[in-house]
């Protein structure tokens, strides 16, 4: 005989699974999605955030401000820590003009990895400024592309103008071990910040 009849069974109680969000930021084409897919247990998913923006009409004979709906794609991946904890990695939309949606994305983030490309360091400034201003813990991953000059970390740190407290590591987004190092560096950085604030 089987146990209690299915018909009277109540839906299962929710298993308490919590999640943390980590953000991967940086300029367009710096390898954010590659970074996410290097460690995600699922193929990165894409979700679209729809938003309404005022369109500035080029034709200024028209005095009508059109509202247009834009969609911004965000890629994200997942790492299951154990049966109680899941980590999500979200890539920020690359273009600067979407910075206005970073608040939704970064609100509640545990920390961020800012990817910098040594050929276009300035592209990462928006992200650095953003996380500094918000006091979001972050580390910098310096992505070296094949054929580009390998700048030593101290030089990159100086060029980026980040403080000595911010970890800066080499990071090849295509290499899983390298991405793991960047992520572990971020998590350890968050750990140290937490521990210091608890000791105070």
């Amino acid at each position: 005989m089987s146990g209690p009849s299915e018909a009277t069974s109540v839906a299962p109680r929710a298993r308490k699974v919590t999640s943390v969000k980590l953000v991967v930021a940086g300029g367009f084409g710096v390898g954010k999605t590659t970074f996410v897919s290097a460690v995600s247990e699922i193929a990165p998913l894409t979700t679209e955030a729809a938003m309404t923006t005022e369109s500035k009409d080029v034709d200024d004979t028209s005095l009508i401000n059109k509202k247009v709906t834009t969609t911004v794609a965000m890629d994200f991946g997942r790492i299951t820590v154990d049966d109680q904890l899941v980590m999500y990695l979200f890539g920020t939309p690359g273009q600067e003009r979407f910075a206005f949606m970073w608040d939704d994305l970064c609100d509640g983030a545990l920390g961020a990895v800012v990817l910098a490309d040594t050929r276009r360091l300035a592209d990462s400034f928006v992200a650095l400024d953003y996380f500094e201003a918000r006091n979001t813990p972050f580390v910098v991953g310096v992505n070296h592309f094949a054929g580009s000059y390998h700048y030593p970390i101290p030089e990159v740190r100086e060029a980026l103008g980040v403080s000595d407290q911010i970890p800066v590591v080499d990071c090849d987004a295509r290499n899983r071990e390298s991405v793991k190092v960047a992520l572990i560096t971020l998590l350890q950085h968050v750990y140290e910040i937490r521990r210091a604030s608890m000791a105070r």
Binding site: V20, L45, T47, A50, T69, V81, V86, G108, L187
Partner: protein
């Protein structure tokens, strides 16, 4: 000449994404975030919309709002409104963890997990 007529719409197959939420773009529960975990806990109503029934179906195992949006192929904001309704109805339960409340032991577990990847 009909120069004053507005240009013909060319995107007739476009469906406004928030049609399935009845035009609402904000969830009743504003604490919902893209990483909030949800799980089906209640008996679904019989009159659930197609999209809501799919959310209930894909949430028997804990899943994030962002994953639901991706699974349904709807914008994040649409998923949030629908999930909010299902939470109100008692079909779904949410777990949201404030990152400032994450314990050191959880961080250690995360570090160990990433190391083991």
């Amino acid at each position: 000449m009909n120069d004053d007529l507005p240009p013909r719409a060319t995107t007739q197959d476009f469906v406004r994404p928030f049609v399935i939420t009845g035009g609402r773009t904000r969830a009743a529960d504003s604490s919902l975030k893209m990483e909030t975990m949800v799980q089906t806990v209640g008996r679904p109503r019989d009159d659930l919309s197609f999209e809501m029934a799919r959310i209930v179906d894909c949430s028997y195992e804990p899943i994030s709002v962002a994953e639901i949006a991706a699974a349904l192929d709807v914008p994040l904001g649409v998923a949030m409104v629908l999930v909010g309704d299902l939470v109100d109805d008692g079909c779904l339960e949410t777990t949201y963890s404030n990152p400032v409340e994450i314990e050191l032991s959880a961080l250690t577990r995360m570090i160990e997990r990433v190391r083991a990847l």
